[in-house]
Symmetry: C2
């Protein structure tokens, strides 16, 4: 396809996207397709001849749109906000159009330097420590793995250059809570520590936050047993309940044992743009790394995760390679992001952050985040003050974890049966909501019982959408 | 930014990209900026208020374009082809516009199922084994790490669930050659094996391909010493010289020792679209995994790497997580790509493959690949038949590794001095070419001497561009 054909098709696609974004409120939130239905509509073989663009565009409408859950919908309250702001979509288009190759500074100096500046802009906007340096990666999962690898190499004095983790005599241990994101145990397993060496520290029964005294006890017990604490992963805003592990108390414990302290703030990081929310990371100055995802609540289109480290030289020593065909005369003067993570070739992801911040402006983004916090508080108040309904966890951010507990379901003597019946009721009405297409919520398990997470924060979600959701929830428990 | 503002800005950006692509031939290939120059043009702080789109667009021209090396240039012969076909740019724009969230099948069924179909289309187009299943990842580096993790877990019977690699008694070993991509030792180090357990097997002095008899000897020696061979990484098209490790002989050796056989075909994979090039992977049927990058020569815009595995169930067992908030009623019936790699949240990358294959068609892509192979052969013939010039490695694909060896530089008695002088000469003229902006080539070390790689295969590169390069190289050795 040449530039002129691209121009014509590109204009059509821009119009298609603008129209699509405009009509999302009329679409069902949850995809209404059965397993295999989308694949069944595609030919079994690649086309030998070029097809007209009109046909491809028609398949976006006929196959793709009905086949995706509309997370840009104003009534998407599922999982977490996964906003794809249109300003950032333009930035990502510019990156694709440029077709730059991010392997070294030399291959695309602007790709590297705009990324450095964006990491710094966002560091300042979120008031993270001034000496920290950031890098864009694809996900908080990858960032957590990178942190666990950096921790491993620090604890073993760069065993990677010798016998690796296989030569380690005192087994390394890692600490987090059972409320940490699933990517934390995954990273611990992939980094080779073994899940047998991962400790799930007790949480407070009300806040679901890590109990520092339980961490202290676990660290002491392991050290006494001859083990070597290598890392602690603290969650700031857990996925389940947005619980906030208290960094001010956890960080000194990790430092005392020489353990790497990684902060997973994947969703909550956006809130650090608001001065009144910076209590979330009180004590973060002593941490080693922190990851958060602009591709969630902030709204920079997937994939865009920021990993900050206090000691970039250490990270580079863990990750660097220097084959002859990638060397240049300026190597000592420039940042080589290939040595800050796993992939060599990288997209120009900084452009979408640049476009997003410039075309929306920081103040408008803050206003939207405050709107969402207010909407979540409003919903929590309605739920708390309505008989038969309960809010199950502190509303620290924009997520409300709730349950409808009809009379009889939790009372009486048949406790086990009641729990099963209550679980069936919860899953039943949540499914009714989701199947309706009118809104999306996420069932999740809390304290061994099913609950429902309402995650407020889709870019177009206004108060009236949350009000409509609340009416729908009440209808659901009657109708399901 | 709302849909109508996006519409207006989007049309402007599409025109800008079409114009930019049209004027690339007039731009210098290598970025002409000094370290810090791009960053110095950006404000120190993020904007509080929204800026007009015109200002952002002006910065693309004024800051970004001069700040990137033009790998879409017809005279880009550096590193490797990093094509960003405009058809795939449209697909990527559609993905961003949709703003889908790839965490589970449920969050975007089409994201999963189009990816399954694209992996199958490309498997068929490249004639890889019919039972293999593919997944899109960001890079061959990440894919290699995933393969090394899968190998580790197979060799240790899923030690990740217990004490990890720390509990391993017979140290695991990995085998590759010194010509393998730098991501291979990196993956081995990150997976925890330790570089002390990585064996660089001898290569043939003419073809630079792994010597199977040397591999056999290394495997036998390690087993005799009580070590446990866990993986062999074979390169099909090395970065340095496009050397091809002979799978037909290597695969049975790996299997005999129960070692995972991973094939790194990052650049060469595209050539498998051509039946006449399938000798590259003769014997691949017995391999465990293979990665190649559509984002290189094929031309699907970064980032788009395909990882194929023979045993997806094993990969899933290594990578899977199942928190309650990601469970659904259809889990057993559908593919959950989160369990095929490191990140949880994924973009709808399959769309750019879908658009690329449909809007360009397989036959036109094959014709372009054949054009590039022919152009590389033509250049190699010119070089070989010109006194003072040498082709240093077999031209298996689209890369010509060459050197100008002026009389005196390699003759005489002062061999060491001559080598230094020849290296200086090579780096000097390559630098002259690159600084001219008229073309880009990559110096690299082969047999301890600097050489120059000419990697043919940018999408717009025609024969006359290669002819012009050859004239430029001859001019360079006179002028530098």
């Amino acid at each position: 396809m040449g530039p002129e054909e691209f121009r014509a098709a590109g204009h059509e696609l821009i119009d298609w996207i603008a129209d699509y974004r405009g009509r999302i409120p009329q679409l069902p939130v949850q995809a209404q397709v059965a397993p295999g239905e989308v694949a069944g509509k595609l030919p079994s073989h690649a086309p030998e001849e070029a097809e007209p663009f009109s046909q491809v565009l028609a398949d976006l409408d006929g196959i793709v749109v009905p086949g995706v859950t509309q997370v840009q919908h104003p009534r998407h309250f599922g999982w977490f906000p996964s906003n794809a702001s249109l300003a950032s979509v333009l930035g990502d288009l510019a990156a694709s159009g440029l077709g730059s190759l991010g392997i070294t500074w030399q291959s695309a100096p602007a790709l590297t330097e705009v990324e450095e500046v964006m990491a710094e802009w966002l560091r300042e906007l979120t008031a993270l420590p001034a000496s920290w340096k950031g890098v864009i990666s694809d996900s908080a999962s990858s960032a957590c793995l990178v942190a666990m690898l950096a921790a491993r190499e620090r604890a073993t004095d760069y065993s990677k250059a010798r016998g690796g983790l296989q030569s380690q005599s005192a087994p390394l241990t890692v600490y987090t809570t059972a409320h940490a994101h699933s990517s934390v145990p995954k990273a611990v397993a992939l980094a080779g520590y073994g899940l047998g060496n991962l400790r799930f520290i007790d949480v407070d029964p009300v806040t679901y936050a890590m109990r520092p005294e339980a961490l202290a006890a676990a660290l002491a017990a392991d050290v006494a047993a001859g083990l070597r604490p290598a890392a602690v992963v603290a969650s700031v805003g857990t996925t389940g309940t947005t619980a906030v592990d208290p960094l001010a108390q956890i960080v000194p414990l990790a430092r005392r044992h020489g353990a790497w302290l990684h902060v997973d703030a994947a969703m909550a990081g956006s809130a650090l743009m608001l001065p009144e929310m910076r209590w979330l990371v009180d004590g973060v100055e002593g941490a080693d790394s922190l990851a958060w995802n602009p591709h969630k609540w902030l709204g920079t289109v997937l994939d865009c995760s920021l990993l900050y480290v206090a000691d970039p030289d250490h990270l580079i020593r863990v990750m660097s390679t220097s084959p002859s065909y990638l060397r240049s005369a300026v190597d000592g003067e420039v940042t080589q992001y290939k040595d800050w993570g796993i992939p060599l070739g990288r997209r120009f992801r900084a452009l979408k952050l640049w476009f997003h911040l410039r075309l929306d402006g920081a103040e408008a983004i803050r206003a939207r985040l405050r709107r969402d916090l207010g909407n979540a508080r409003w919903l929590a108040e309605q739920v708390s003050s309505t008989p038969g309904w309960r809010v199950l966890a502190p509303v620290n951010l924009q997520t409300v974890v709730l349950r409808h507990e009809p009379p009889g379901a939790v009372s009486g003597t048949g406790a086990v049966l009641d729990a099963d019946a209550l679980n069936a009721h919860t899953l039943g009405w949540a499914d009714w909501v989701n199947a309706s297409g009118a809104a999306l919520v996420t069932p999740s398990v809390l304290d061994d019982m099913w609950s429902v997470r309402v995650s407020v924060g889709a870019e177009p979600t206004e108060r009236h959408d949350v009000e409509a959701l609340w009416r729908l929830l009440k209808e659901a428990v009657e109708s399901s």
